[in-house]
């Protein structure tokens, strides 16, 4: 018990929790936007991978760190556009298209990486985003290292939560996006474009997912590794349901998840070899399944999620 308290009283633990949560915040927000507009985006796992690769590659080629973030976002939006074209105007299976996007984006990222760097055994590194020490606040005991020494991308993630919440809850655009995921006929009757709104939402959401991937190669680590996304995208899909499609709850869910993950890593070192490491590594996936099962009963899915809509067919 004292070990547990010691872990929780350590500022590094909370800093790690926030660091682990950051890519998930981007991913959950991205998935949330797509689903609010009525489109499930199972391309997320591959879009994470492609974003991680594109962001890192752009930075490595000299585009700068923010150039990398932009490259990742555009890559994500591109795969999002493909998913949207297949599922919105053509109305094809969102499950199958999403899985296809994941396979395509993942293998395209791996292929591009191997084609650009055929013979490297250890991946080349970039200078990643550094911690942004907030003046005065970062000097605070405990709170400083826990909360105020994060990279710019973590702050961007937080800003995105606020922005997505504000757009969805407080603007006519947000109202239209939510309506298109609940009742596309009503949106059409108002003279708004159901296709345009859905395609736009999927592209924006996919861009956010890709930035989440870019965080992995440009802030959490400084290089691209095969298999580095490791199910984070699928975890985001579970967290969206847990967050009942609300941006602030998405942030809370990602932070809880981050805290749990940081905790299991520390517990693993505490227990040192008494329990096989894989038990701890399984925990995040099992936790996501538990969260999904708990949330599923009362899940209030966007009503038109998974339902294609064709113009002129009521």
């Amino acid at each position: 018990m004292t070990e547990v308290l010691e872990i929780l009283a350590n500022a590094n633990f909370w800093a790690a929790a926030i660091r682990i949560a950051t890519p998930l915040v981007f991913g959950v927000l991205g998935a949330l936007i797509c689903e609010r507009a009525g489109v499930l985006n199972l391309g997320i796992e591959g879009i994470f991978t492609a974003g991680a690769m594109a962001g890192w590659m752009a930075a490595w080629l000299g585009a700068g760190l923010w150039g990398g973030v932009l490259a990742a976002a555009l890559t994500g939006a591109g795969f999002g556009l493909l998913h949207a074209l297949l599922t919105v105007p053509l109305g094809l299976s969102q499950h199958v298209s999403g899985l296809g996007i994941t396979l395509l984006a993942t293998s395209a990222a791996y292929f591009a990486y191997r084609t650009a760097l055929p013979d490297v055994s250890s991946p080349p590194r970039i200078e990643p985003f550094g911690a942004l020490d907030i003046p005065v606040l970062s000097e605070l005991p405990f709170l400083g290292p826990a909360l105020f020494q994060h990279t710019a991308l973590t702050w961007l993630a937080l800003a995105m939560v606020a922005l997505v919440w504000w757009v969805l809850a407080r603007t006519p655009l947000g109202l239209a996006i939510r309506a298109v995921g609940d009742n596309p006929d009503a949106v059409d009757a108002q003279g708004l474009s159901v296709y345009g709104l859905r395609i736009g939402a999927v592209m924006a959401g996919s861009a956010l997912m890709a930035v989440g991937g870019a965080f992995l190669t440009m802030a959490a680590f400084d290089a691209f590794f095969f298999g580095m996304v490791n199910g984070r995208g699928w975890i985001c899909i579970a967290l969206v349901i847990f967050a009942s499609w609300r941006p602030w709850k998405a942030l809370l869910g990602a932070l809880l998840f981050g805290a749990f993950d940081a905790f299991q890593v520390r517990l693993q070192t505490e227990l040192g070899g008494a329990v096989p490491g894989q038990i701890f590594l399984m925990a995040p996936y099992l936790l996501s399944i538990v969260a999904l099962v708990l949330a599923a009963r009362r899940a209030d899915y966007p009503r038109a999620l998974l339902t294609p809509w064709f113009k002129g067919q009521r």
Binding site: L92, G100, F111, I279, L292, A296, R297
Partner: protein, 356 residues
């Protein structure tokens, strides 16, 4: 204006669409190949040679097709009931683990006992692995896409843990691998001095069996009814939950058998890199086959050919072997679009006039 109209179902279109989708996917490989600076003519020629060049290459393709037929059937069968089993990869590994558990010397018996035993163990393990997500779906409404995807990671970690723990081969020079499967439990080879094994025959027989089950039996009818419209099926008195569990058990069992074939037919022992994504590729196989069990055989042969041909070509000219995965991914998307073409047609509508 362009309007989308349903098209009358046609067997010719139904056959032509997946074939064309596969060909288009193969042709689209030209884009990444050109970007990688390869000579396209040479690349495609080498790919062809890599598949049809010799008896060895042909048997290699069939060897690759064996697990793909089984994971493809696993996906197709579940999808028919609209149960999204994306957990084929995990079920394959659990099947392999179960085969190792009973097949590495714990039991000694003649082949006539051992071979059915490892097959049964693997099928059972895979079936149980899929029963959990199916139960969570029926009981709690938890989306099986997400649970099966997440369980793939859990299972792989579990297999790694077993291979570093109780299943570790003490003679394995410290590598995390299982003890070898005893000779009596090994699936017999089909062609002398080649790696092709009886797992292929198991897949072929099961494809036929499932074809009959889905098309000719009351149970198959129930599965299709649940897949097409669960509400109507329930209204017609079909026990939807029980039907879904049945489909889940069969689907998981098929993927488990794929794992048995890979350890007891091909490798002879289990490592954590047994499958290069056969579970996920099985989804592509099922979709290319348009969920028909017999179609799965053809689709699996195509995907296996892509893997073998692209692998041998990329080794020869130094292009990344991820090209094969790229073609497989594109095939899933082209067949999806093909499905649209086979169900609908685009009709040009003149302003205020009839369709032209």
């Amino acid at each position: 204006m362009i309007r989308i109209e349903p098209r009358a179902p046609s067997p010719l279109v139904n056959l032509a669409v997946p074939v064309l989708a596969a060909l288009v996917a193969l042709l689209l490989a030209a884009i990444p190949l050109a970007l990688a600076g390869a000579d396209l003519g040479q690349a495609f020629a080498l790919m062809w040679q890599g598949v049809f060049g010799s008896l060895f290459t042909v048997t290699e393709t069939l060897t690759r097709a064996a697990p793909l037929i089984l994971t493809g059937l696993a996906a197709a069968f579940a999808f028919r009931a609209r149960l999204w089993n994306i957990g084929g990869e995990g079920q394959l590994y659990l099947g392999a683990l179960a085969a190792v558990a009973v097949g590495t010397g714990a039991i000694s018996a003649p082949p006539a006992v051992m071979i059915p035993l490892v097959l049964l163990a693997g099928a059972l393990a895979g079936a149980l692995a899929m029963a959990l997500p199916a139960l969570l779906k029926i009981r709690f409404g938890a989306d099986e896409v997400v649970t099966t995807l997440l369980l793939n990671f859990v299972v792989l970690l579990f297999v790694q843990m077993m291979l570093e723990g109780p299943f570790k081969d003490p003679m394995g020079m410290g590598w995390p691998q299982s003890e070898p499967i005893v000779d009596a439990a090994m699936l017999p080879p089909l062609v002398e001095r080649m790696r092709l094994h009886a797992g292929l025959l198991i897949g072929l027989v099961l494809a036929l069996v499932l074809h009959v089950v889905l098309g000719r039996t009351a149970w198959g009818l129930r599965i299709r009814a649940v897949g097409e419209n669960p509400a109507a099926a329930a209204h017609a008195g079909i026990p939807v939950g029980r039907t879904l569990i049945g489909a889940a058990l069969v689907s998981g069992g098929l993927a488990g058998l794929a794992g048995v074939g890979e350890v007891a037919g091909l490798k002879g022992y289990l490592t954590a890199d047994l499958s290069p994504g056969y579970g996920y590729a099985g989804i592509v196989v099922a979709m290319l086959a348009r969920l028909s069990p017999l179609g799965v055989v053809a689709a699996a042969l195509f995907i296996a050919g892509v893997f073998v041909g692209a692998d041998s070509m990329s080794r020869a000219i130094g292009v990344s072997s991820y090209l094969a995965d790229l073609v497989v991914a594109i095939a899933l998307l082209t067949v999806l679009v093909g499905g649209f073409v086979s169900q609908y047609r685009l009709v040009r509508v003149r302003a205020g006039g009839e369709g032209a």
